[in-house]
């Protein structure tokens, strides 16, 4: 009896798992990431924040003055955020020897949930994943939807803002960041 129930439970779990994958695929299939990046009309001073990462290390934006910073607001539940995440890591690797920092700020999810998702990625992101648990930083920054990504110049000003998923290692975006580094 227990054996039969166990088999049925396994079959049921398998069906639900496969169903979940199919639903997930149906959501994420066809997400075409843009590579357009448009400058803001005027630079905006980036508001400072202090957040811990998934390893409980603190990060303060103002400590990064003199570097170009890419700040990405995201969540695991957001399909385009998931789609673009590997390209952020590829961007980090392309610019590894340059004064660029990437910070991905998660919106309100648990570190465990975030890490179990990130470990399944190829490549696995090695930049800090910050935890905006109460979503106050995204609110202060005026984030209206996910994903939203900002590029901050070496003086600490937001010069580019991108709403929606991007292919961050696309040559056009890399070129924009390279120009900011050389300014």
């Amino acid at each position: 009896m227990l054996k039969t129930s166990g088999k049925q439970l396994f079959q049921c779990t398998l069906v639900l798992f496969l169903f979940g994958i199919s639903i997930n695929n149906s959501y994420t299939q066809g997400i075409e990431l843009s590579h357009k990046v448009s400058p803001l009309k005027a630079p905006i001073p980036a508001k400072n924040f202090s957040l811990s990462d998934t390893d409980e290390n603190m990060h303060q934006l103002s400590d990064l003055n003199g570097k170009v910073v890419v700040v990405n607001f995201w969540a695991v539940w957001c399909p385009p955020c998931r789609e673009e995440m590997p390209s952020l890591e590829r961007l980090r690797r392309k610019l590894a020897d340059k004064p660029v920092t990437i910070l991905a700020i998660n919106q309100g999810e648990d570190a465990e949930q975030i890490l179990s998702y990130l470990w399944g990625l190829d490549p696995v992101p090695e930049f800090p994943i910050l935890l905006d648990r109460d979503m106050k930083v995204s609110s202060n920054w005026g984030v209206t939807g996910l994903p939203t990504t900002y590029i901050i110049d070496k003086k600490g000003n937001i010069v580019y803002r991108m709403i929606g998923g991007r292919e961050f290692d696309h040559p056009e975006i890399v070129e924009v960041i390279d120009k900011l580094i050389s300014e």
Binding site: F19, S22, G30, S38, G108, I163
Partner: protein, 186 residues
């Protein structure tokens, strides 16, 4: 297999509901599964908008996953919620103001949408910190920006309405209409 089934489901839906709108709405090609998920779609010189009704079950699942209290989940699922994708494919920035959008019910009456700020107010009153999922009320989209979020209409499942939408590009207000948008069945 499931995707194939979904595709075969969407094709007849497309045929029924892809009504011409303002002369600018495009019926997505029925053999394209990516556009078939957005049965209402319009392109206006860089301002692209697509709609896709979301079934209440999916709404319940989404907000349960965000730890919403059961009463709020019930309330959200009682609304007609439409997946709404907006994209700037042009070279100029544009903005829109959801408070100016209206939906028209078959009795000819026009109604305001329940917009993000309305939901956020209710969520904060109940101690819910979540701030996303609803289409931003009054944003500016730069070239290349796009978003896929929810818009909400106080209508029961299966209801039908016309959506009057607007956007501003280069200081000029523009209008469009989707006719016969149908809320998903429960």
């Amino acid at each position: 297999m499931l995707n194939k089934n979904l595709k075969s489901l969407f094709i007849p839906v497309l045929c029924i509901f892809a009504a011409p709108v303002n002369g600018q709405t495009e019926a997505p090609p029925p053999d394209d599964p990516t556009t078939a998920a957005w049965p209402f779609s319009a392109k206006h010189d860089g301002f692209n908008i697509s709609l896709s009704p979301i079934p209440p079950d999916r709404i319940r699942a989404f907000f349960t996953g965000r730890d919403f209290p059961p009463e709020m989940i019930k309330k959200l699922a009682s609304y007609c919620i439409i997946g709404t994708r907006i994209e700037n494919t042009g070279t100029q920035e544009f903005s829109y103001d959801l408070s100016k959008w209206r939906y028209e019910t078959p009795d000819g009456k026009q109604h305001k949408l329940k917009i993000k700020s309305d939901w956020i107010k209710e969520w904060r009153e109940q101690g819910i910190k979540f701030a996303f999922s609803q289409l931003a009320g009054n944003p500016t989209f730069l070239s290349g920006d796009w978003i896929s979020s929810m818009t909400t209409y106080k209508l029961p499942p299966g209801s039908s309405f016309d959506l009057h939408y607007q956007w501003n590009i280069g200081g000029k207000d523009n209008k469009g209409i989707f006719k016969g948008v149908t809320c998903a069945e429960d």
